[in-house]
């Protein structure tokens, strides 16, 4: 694919490097000659110095031949302008990073009216990531599908788990849970689950389910570490704001510590259920008073990395078990990992990952209808989301009558707002969003899963 990236900051540079490694033709545009020089001497990509929101520069970068333009400069307005010009100049998909909440609230308009393929808000994405971790704190990985209505959750069966020794069929029958077991990793081997597969202790299991069903499932199998009821959040910035919104209707209650009184007032006015504390989180007594040691989770979202790291370490020493630390710079990743900080979130890395996943899905799906694609097990098993078309051969027949290839699993069907965990009698209709788990990589179309 021909990809043009506007803005050579951390996200732009990461994307350029990864996309180039994937074998795409990457051109990067930035105003700073130095930044362009650094990245072009490190990877085999083309660099252009100039303002990416001008059509002359975009033409120089070959917008007429580009498949995708990603605008990740520091300015929202510039990013949106880049995408609009690109849309006008060439026939390519466009992705814009938009930070301002006022703009990101307009996402549907950008997509429908201005033709952007994707609008990504790093803070919102980070808040979503934090919310996912809070819901399933011991999950290894949680990936959203079908706009977040379905999640793919990967976790390790603990020693002495109730379902160890039971087969997949038994678990579903006995527990009456609407979840779909996708893959089981045991040692080096990866299995795509069929009904007769028997669980063992320490297996790494991936399931696909709606948020609510997954919660049920974890309760029924007595999966510990799934019981976060409250979280102590430091900092009342944009991410906190989004986090409040996402968790508003969940059972997790938030307590926010913020220095700035006006921010405190704003937060407490906007979100009724949230407890807002006015005070300096650097004050250890204050944190103790607010019960840092008993909190289900401690989330450090202040504006400086150092403060976040130190606060998390303090919370850990006080006995808090689940830590989430926001870190802006990823340069010291290796050092930070050694600190044993549990979960760290970096808005820029999350942004880059989400864009990367989109590009990979598009690349795998040239001429097909894959919407999202996710590697469940690296290079072995993929989950892909498709929109089923009217004339597709899988429409209109019960699943048990269709002849699927081996190592293929229909993991979920989303029709409108309802999510169906497919069983033998279910029928796929045109327009459904279907998630398919497959050991055969690079599925192009839903029809590819049939024999």
């Amino acid at each position: 694919m021909n990809v043009i990236i506007v803005g050579c900051g951390r996200v732009g540079a990461t994307l350029a490097e990864k996309l180039n490694d994937d074998g795409n033709d990457v051109t990067i545009i930035d105003k700073s000659a130095e930044k362009v020089k650094t990245i072009t001497s490190r990877c085999d990509i083309m660099g252009i110095v100039g303002n990416g929101a001008t059509h002359t520069v975009q033409r120089e970068a070959g917008i007429d031949r580009a498949d995708l333009l990603i605008a990740v400069t520091n300015s929202d307005e510039l990013n949106l302008l880049c995408c609009m010009i690109a849309k006008k100049e060439g026939d390519c998909k466009t992705i814009a990073r938009v930070k301002n909440p006022e703009y990101s609230a307009e996402t549907p308009y950008f997509k429908d009216e201005l033709g952007l393929a994707m609008v990504i808000n790093p803070e919102y994405a980070t808040a979503e990531e934090i919310a996912r971790v809070l819901r399933f704190p011991s999950a290894i990985k949680i990936e959203p599908f079908v706009k977040g209505s379905v999640e793919l959750i990967k976790f390790r069966l603990p020693v002495g788990c109730k379902i160890a020794g039971m087969s997949v069929k038994e678990v579903v029958m006995k527990l009456k849970c609407d979840v779909l077991v996708c893959t089981i990793e045991r040692g080096e081997e990866t299995y795509i689950a069929n009904g007769d597969f028997v669980f063992a202790e320490k297996d790494v299991v991936s399931i696909i389910a709606t948020v609510k069903n997954a919660k049920d499932f974890f309760e029924k199998i007595n999966y510990k570490g799934n019981s976060i009821k409250d979280a102590l959040v430091v900092g009342g910035g944009v991410i906190t704001h989004y986090l409040c919104g996402i968790l508003e209707r969940s059972s997790i209650s938030l307590k926010i510590v913020e220095k700035d009184l006006s921010v405190c007032e704003e937060l407490s006015n906007r979100w009724d259920k949230v407890v807002v504390i006015h005070g300096d989180a650097g004050d250890q007594e204050l944190l103790r008073e607010e019960g840092v040691s008993n909190a289900g989770a401690f989330v450090a979202l202040s504006s400086t990395d150092e403060e976040n790291i130190l606060l998390s370490m303090f919370a850990k020493s006080e006995g808090c078990n689940k830590l989430i630390t926001k870190i802006k710079r990823t340069d010291y990743d290796s050092v930070i990992n050694r600190l044993d900080l549990d979960t760290t979130v970096c808005p820029k890395s999350i942004t880059a990952d989400i864009i990367l996943r989109y590009v990979r899905a598009r690349k795998n799906a040239k001429g097909s209808h894959v919407r999202t694609m996710y590697n469940i097990v690296q290079d072995k098993v993929e989950a892909s989301e498709f929109i089923v078309e009217e004339n597709s051969p899988i429409v209109g027949k019960p699943l048990c009558e269709l002849k699927f290839k081996s190592e293929v699993l229909i993991a979920s069907i989303t029709r409108g707002n309802t999510v169906i965990v497919p069983r033998g009698n279910d029928i796929i209709q045109a327009g459904d969003a279907v998630v398919i788990v497959s050991g055969q990589l690079g599925l192009q179309d839903v029809a590819d899963v049939l024999k």
């Binding site: 021909n2 085999d44 083309m46 120089e60």
Partner: protein, 487 residues
């Protein structure tokens, strides 16, 4: 320094050279030159075996090529390819002295076209070796490593270091994101233009321009080299052939990126400042020489002839090819001075030609006027720009350093060459002709002369000058700088 990766790349270079020898082998078979065939096959197998050992024996774990390795690879591969390329001339006995053979080969690869062969020898030289001489021009024109990159998938993003070290010009930019595709596109344009020229020469109906001559002439013009198959240079060919060669000499000295932009319909970028200035210089020089030839008494050219000869000579010298239809050594002093000036200016950056390069001259001029304005307004803030783009300070600095090194090496070479007791004009133009990769100079090394009379020591100086000129000085200097080899 990643020695293993350097060794491996040099191995690949040798394997490609073995492949290049296929061209003279085919020629030898066509013209039944069996004796020479064996010598070429010998050189070919030497390259093949040694190349295979270097490229495939031993494991290379660290595949990274940094700027330092890039420079060493480029400089040493040009030396290695010349050392082996000289073998068939020497072993077959046609150029018995190895230094002479090396001079001829380096002159070929660097697209200089300076020869140590006298007219009588050239006329009876075997066809296969003439073909090899011509083919070295073609290979050297666009660059050996660019060729390597177009065909091999050298891993890592730092290959741009190789492209930068081998491509002429103050700043090298890619045409498309991937180095490999860029190299491929350059070679496709290069090959297409060469084929077009060959077809035009063959179809011209020139009795002397047979298929063999058309091929070697196309090779020599494409690389802006300048070797000819005849003692009388180009004067024996028809006007049609001469005009075709004139046009193509100009075409091959324009930045190849321009052709890419024309193909993509981006005409504004194709006719950038450098190309416009280059064409301006060509036209002005042709007109001045034509007028000079017409007004000076003692020359019997008609206006048409004067125009044709001056166009041919200007195109030949500014493109640093070095063909000659007339012995311009006998022209009036003004015409000779103009020719000498265009010799130094040279072709456009990113072409196959040599010289200082038009873009550098433009940047130098702008830099000089810029400095003068600063003398009037010491606090004025202004950056040099070209094609409405700011020329980065680093590029300007690079150009200044280049000119400094250029003058220094020029003077040193002149000093070393002067021991041989030729006259000053000969020495001066001989250094200029080799350093700028032109070929013939004035005086004893004029179009009708050759370099044979110089001592072996002076020839080594010329060999260094030719390589330094082709690789834009710094790779050759750095290869011999202790700092490059220090850990």
């Amino acid at each position: 320094m990643n020695y293993r990766m350097i060794k491996r790349t040099l191995g690949w270079i040798l394997l490609f050279e073995a492949l290049f020898f296929v061209v003279p082998v085919i020629t030898a078979i066509c013209f039944r030159e069996w004796r020479e065939l064996w010598h070429i096959l010998l050189a070919m197998s030497a390259c093949g075996v040694l190349g295979w050992i270097c490229a495939f024996v031993g494991k290379v774990e660290n595949k990274s090529l940094y700027a330092k390795e890039g420079i060493v690879i480029v400089a040493s591969s040009w030396i290695v390819i010349s050392l082996f390329g000289a073998l068939p001339f020497c072993t077959s006995g046609w150029i018995p002295n190895y230094i002479d053979a090396l001079f001829e080969t380096v002159s070929g690869f660097t697209t200089t076209g300076a020869s140590i062969l006298d007219g009588a020898t050239i006329d009876k030289f075997p066809k296969c070796l003439l073909m090899w001489r011509g083919f070295t021009h073609w290979v050297g024109g666009m660059g050996v490593l660019v060729f390597l990159m177009a065909f091999l998938n050298l891993s890592g993003g730092r290959n741009i270091n190789l492209l930068k070290a081998e491509s002429p010009g103050p700043s090298v930019s890619k045409l498309v994101p991937k180095v490999r595709s860029t190299a491929g596109i350059l070679y496709i344009i290069y090959a297409a233009l060469t084929v077009l020229m060959f077809v035009m020469l063959v179809l011209g109906g020139d009795p002397k321009m047979d298929v063999f001559d058309s091929v070697t002439t196309a090779f020599a013009t494409a690389g802006t080299g300048g070797f000819t198959n005849h003692s009388d240079g180009f004067s024996g060919y028809t006007s049609y052939s001469q005009i075709v060669v004139t046009v193509f000499m100009v075409l091959f000295s324009i930045n190849f990126a321009s052709y890419f932009f024309i193909l993509r319909g981006r005409f504004k970028e194709a006719f950038n400042t450098e190309v416009r200035v280059f064409l301006g210089i060509v036209v002005a020089a042709i007109l001045l020489i034509t007028i000079n030839l017409q007004l000076t008494s003692g020359y019997t050219y008609t206006t048409g002839e004067a125009l044709k000869h001056s166009a041919f000579s200007v195109a030949s010298l500014i493109s640093t090819t070095g063909f000659a239809t007339e012995d311009f050594n006998l022209w009036p002093a003004f015409a000779k001075t103009i020719l000498m000036l265009v010799m130094f200016v040279g072709a456009c950056a990113g072409s196959t030609g040599g010289g200082i390069k038009v873009s550098r001259v433009v940047i130098l001029f702008k830099g000089a006027t810029h400095e003068m304005k600063r003398m009037l307004h010491p606090n004025q803030v202004k950056k040099i720009s070209m094609d409405k783009k700011v020329v980065e300070h680093e590029v300007v600095r690079g150009v200044n350093a280049y000119i400094g090194a250029y003058i220094l090496i020029f003077i040193l070479s002149l000093l070393l060459v002067s021991f041989d007791c030729a006259d000053l004009v000969t020495d001066f133009t001989a250094v200029s002709a080799t350093f700028n990769n032109i070929g013939p100079g004035l005086g004893l090394v004029g179009p009708s002369g050759n370099f044979a009379f110089y001592s072996w020591w002076t020839k080594l100086v010329f060999i260094f000058d030719m390589l330094a000129g082709r690789l834009e000085i710094f790779p050759m200097l750095l290869l011999f700088a202790p700092a490059t080899w220090r850990k």
